[in-house]
């Protein structure tokens, strides 16, 4: 985007936390993608994948995640407030969006001290049973965007501001037209057009060691004559050693090339599930049970509506059974796009733009 254009458009700062995967960053990028041309998105990311943001054409700054830092919460929040303050004073946002479970104290204090005109909290709705309600007042935000799961349509829970609350359909990072078809996706990855490929994306492994499960599943897929393609997550702190014959790729966003593959094996994070729905590729979900969102519940919901199976894949028997069921699905159902409303990012962008208009009218 040209410098002059950047200055003319209203600035929206998108703040993403660093979760177990790239989900929060993907959500912010999805919003940024739909705001492009109508606003100037600037990302403040706690996920260490800044070049991915730049490659998509957006400005960004990085700050070490609280999950990686050894600083006390108090010290980390103080640093966060200072750094965010610096960014706000430079880009002068009209709206600031926090995407994550728990808005940090440093974030809230920086927004207050700067005087952010409109504050938004974007968050998931599907959490594991028994998770404590976060002690942050929704009335402290002008808008709360709840990311709906499969089958959710747009709805408004509370109309009045502050604290207006909407639920949006599932969010996809890319629009459908940006997703490559099978042949082009294979060409872009240098894969044989006639080969049989299984895509593995079990997450960065920063919260859960996925190497054992991964190796077991690789062995199973290889027995069936598939070439395994392993995704290296940009934010991984280390890469697992891979057996011979496994092709390693670093592709982000993965959905762009997902249709290159006959089957997908991965965790059941929010964005992964949306990508599977959008691409229509048969999937085996291995839910990560160490995160706060209910990945098992989500995966089962998707499996009822789309070609997908769900398994913890902890034992050899579970892995064998899961792969057999996955391959049976693959024979029956070739990748076909599914008819679900996945327009959550468009709705979120519209809501954010409405906030800008309302702030300017005051």
């Amino acid at each position: 985007m040209a410098e002059v254009e950047k200055r003319d458009l209203p600035c929206v700062v998108l703040f993403n936390i660093n979760g177990s995967g790239m989900g929060h960053l993907s959500t912010c990028l999805a919003y940024a993608n739909r705001l492009q041309g109508r606003a100037r998105p600037v990302l403040f990311s706690l996920a260490s994948a800044i070049e991915m943001i730049h490659e998509m054409g957006f400005e960004a700054d990085y700050f070490v995640s609280r999950f990686w830092s050894r600083a006390t919460a108090w010290a980390w929040d103080r640093q966060l407030a200072l750094r965010l303050g610096m960014l706000f004073e430079r880009v002068r946002p009209e709206v600031v969006v926090f995407d994550g479970t728990w808005p940090y104290r440093g974030f809230l204090e920086a927004a207050r001290a700067y005087g952010v005109p409109r504050l938004v909290w974007s968050n998931l709705t599907l959490y594991k049973m028994g998770m404590r309600k976060v002690p942050v007042r929704e009335s402290g935000f002008d808008l709360i965007i709840q990311l709906g799961e499969l089958g959710t349509s747009f709805s408004t829970q509370r109309e009045v501001m502050p604290g207006r609350k909407v639920t949006i359909p599932p969010v996809t990072l890319l629009r459908d037209e940006a997703i490559l078809d099978r042949g082009n996706a294979r060409d872009s990855l240098g894969l044989d057009r006639d080969g049989r490929y299984a895509l593995f994306s079990l997450g960065p492994g920063n919260l859960k060691d996925i190497s054992g499960i991964g190796r077991g599943l690789i062995d199973e897929m290889k027995k069936h004559g598939y070439t395994v393609v392993w995704t290296r997550a940009p934010i991984s702190a280390s890469d697992p050693g891979l057996p011979d014959g496994v092709v390693s790729i670093a592709a982000y966003p993965l959905v762009r090339v997902m249709r290159a593959f006959d089957v997908f094996v991965g965790a059941a994070g929010y964005n992964t599930c949306c990508e599977v729905l959008q691409s229509g590729v048969p999937a085996l979900f291995v839910p990560n049970t160490m995160v706060s969102d209910d990945q098992t519940g989500r995966a089962e919901m998707v499996a009822k509506a789309a070609p997908a199976v769900v398994s913890p894949c902890e034992t050899l028997a579970q892995r064998t059974d899961a792969i057999n069921r996955l391959l049976a699905l693959q024979v029956r159902e070739r990748a076909t796009p599914l008819a679900f409303d996945l327009g959550g990012a468009e709705r979120a962008a519209d809501e954010i733009l409405r906030l800008i208009t309302s702030a300017r009218c005051e």
Binding site: T72, R92, R132
Partner: protein, 192 residues
């Protein structure tokens, strides 16, 4: 590159950082103060809130002294108390920066930990190093250029920390042992 030349680059960087430290951004530090949160609802959160008050009181009284800004990350391979060393890589070429990082991470020493200050966005690579990264991006906007203001902020945050220019240590072919040796020698000399 001769040792004399490396040392002159190091001294030049040290002078640059000291100049930055002198220009205090007091407006920023005064404006963005984090206030203590009000008592939250719910017993669980109130207990956590009270524990935090106790810890803050102990810190205030000097009984508990947490490192105000520990730079060793949780996933790092070095000792928690490892000495930080700034690797200053602003304006450094992408490939050359990778070479520097590869060399320093090939055989990490437990006694020191690099903090990489850079304007290069190569985070997929950086994530695997286990180092704290301080990024200096350019952002369009008003007032002082963002990267300049943040550079001043970082210089103040890490004041007194030994700093090495990435270009110079690459040219001199320095590895972890050379840095270790430099740190020991530096400890015996007055700071530049």
């Amino acid at each position: 590159m001769s040792l004399k030349s490396v040392n002159s680059d190091i001294e030049a960087l040290q002078r640059h950082l000291q100049n930055l430290v002198r220009a205090v951004d007091s407006e920023l530090t005064q404006r963005y103060v984090v206030r203590w949160p009000r008592r939250p609802p719910g017993l669980y959160w109130q207990l956590r809130w009270m524990v935090a008050i106790v810890l803050r009181s102990l810190e205030y009284m000097g009984i508990w002294r947490p490192d105000p800004w520990p730079v060793v990350l949780k996933q790092a391979h070095c000792d928690v108390k490892a000495q930080p060393v700034l690797i200053w890589a602003v304006g450094t070429n992408f490939d050359e920066l990778r070479q520097v990082c590869d060399r320093l991470s090939a055989r990490p020493l437990p006694t020191f930990t690099p903090v990489l200050v850079t304007d290069v966005a190569d985070f997929t690579f950086f994530s695997r190093l286990g180092w704290l990264i301080e990024y200096l991006p350019r952002l369009a906007g008003e007032g002082e250029p963002y990267e300049k203001r943040k550079e001043r902020f970082l210089a103040r945050l890490y004041r007194g920390t030994p700093a090495l220019p990435a270009d110079a240590i690459l040219e001199a072919g320095w590895g972890p042992d050379d840095i270790q040796q430099w740190l020991q020698t530096r400890g015996q000399k007055p700071v530049v």
